[in-house]
Symmetry: C2
């Protein structure tokens, strides 16, 4: 399925991801409006032809003419925004998001939403260590994963439309996962790795190590530069899944510690052989 | 100080690092011989003009004419090699190495070595995920650290000569650390990170995650592809320092787990702010 070229698209939240969505969709010829409370962000996006129209307020005409609304806000703001303004939405509009955690938000939004609207959740697994529409860059999607996260409440057409957004933006891989499986996966591949990177940077005074670090330490700590407001909220919203993944990792790490302490070289080698074989799959 | 152009250099062990040393020194015009038990490695190095002369045996003439001998062998073989063959060394010869751990080996070698020879240890912090002289590549040194690891037994001249090897090979940064400080640093920036990467790959069946992994997981597990024979030996030889670093990390990680469990958002944000500030120093 392709996105209808006549769609009116509204993006709420012009940060890095909202701005990059706007840039990618606008380049492909779609009419893109945007709402953001920050006047500089809206002005920047208009001046740089990232959007057609923009507003710092909830412009009734803009909202009520949108066929597709994409939320790129912090999760807690996002839910309130919908509760307060959904009376303005056009009947039949499709609503999607870019939020990094799902179970805590998808069901609640679907339950409060007017019955003539549909919310279909999506997670673009792309980002940068910098923020704001000034750093918007739709090329960040080219090598990235886009995950549609449907529930039983979603229709075939909305799911296909949501996939079409990912295709239009040029994501490398588009897949589909239910909310729970999505959150477990994210707890492991994204949130656990960020916890590890943070702890590596904070566990030891490391300033004097800059002169000695090779690629290993740099690789494992790149993501220790982190937006504390966004990530602490995402951690809290996915708390149970993340704690469970942390427990799994701690248990494995403690086991490795014991092998080393007991000089159980054969078991250590086994683990290394297993990790080498599994990691090799990622480099195919 | 520059290395004397007339030096006879002997490299013992033609793996990735020994081969890359030979390649770099030979390109700069030095006479380089090499000994390796593997006939294919010696033949490859001669055919590809990485060395001038090579032997699979302990060629007495080759050994006794060397002014500088560089060992690029596994630590346990390296010590025996010196014990068994040092009667052949030229009086006044300087001996160095490329071993990744130091306390366990430097003092022992210095204590068994003939008094008319000098052993000055060095650690080139460079590598690849592939092995053997066939993958030798002296460009791996260009962005890397070279650490001279002297003891009280070393002379100024030998330390300067050892630094000159690093300069000749084109290392980006050359520094000096005593054995204990070197091993603590390596336990943290290199060995601890490898333990973490291994455990991330082995703690959970991850084959199905290949489709969903973003850059974070890939970055943190790149070094999980690991030579189990070399690394298990290096871990054992630096066991105390590594266990201590693992304890520090476990304690920090458990603390972060508790903050999350208790929803102590302010403390979590503090850690993120600290990790961001510390990591920023690495990107200057």
């Amino acid at each position: 399925m392709k996105l209808d070229k006549n769609l009116n698209i509204l993006i709420v939240g012009l940060g890095l991801i909202g701005g990059s969505y706007a840039m990618g969709l606008h380049k492909k010829g779609y009419k893109v409006s945007a709402i953001d409370v920050n006047e500089n962000s809206v002005k920047y996006a208009i001046d740089n032809k990232i959007i057609d129209y923009g507003s710092t307020e909830i412009d009734e005409k803009m909202v009520s003419s949108a066929d597709l609304i994409i939320f790129a806000l912090y999760p807690h703001i996002f839910l309130d925004w919908i509760k307060n303004n959904q009376h303005l939405f056009k009947s039949g509009a499709v609503i999607t998001d870019v939020t990094g955690v799902k179970s805590c938000i998808v069901y609640e939004i679907q339950s409060v939403l007017r019955k003539d609207l549909e919310f279909i959740s999506a997670h673009p697994m792309a980002g940068k260590e910098v923020y704001g529409v000034e750093n918007a860059d739709d090329s960040i999607f080219n090598d990235a994963n886009y995950i549609v996260v449907p529930t039983d409440a979603n229709t075939f057409n909305a799911i296909e439309m949501c996939k079409a957004i990912g295709e239009t933006l040029g994501f490398a891989r588009i897949s589909s996962l239910p909310p729970k499986a999505h959150d477990e996966m994210i707890g492991f591949v994204s949130q656990l790795t960020h916890c590890i990177a943070i702890c590596l940077m904070t566990c030891s005074k490391s300033e004097h190590l800059v002169d000695y670090t090779g690629d290993s330490f740099r690789d494992l700590t790149r993501i220790a530069r982190i937006n504390e407001n966004m990530w602490s909220e995402l951690f809290m919203l996915n708390k149970d899944a993340l704690l469970s993944q942390m427990e799994t990792f701690i248990s494995e790490f403690n086991g490795f510690y014991e092998m080393l302490k007991n000089e159980d070289i054969e078991k250590i080698k086994e683990k290394m052989i297993q990790s080498t074989a599994r990691r090799a799959l990622f480099d195919k």
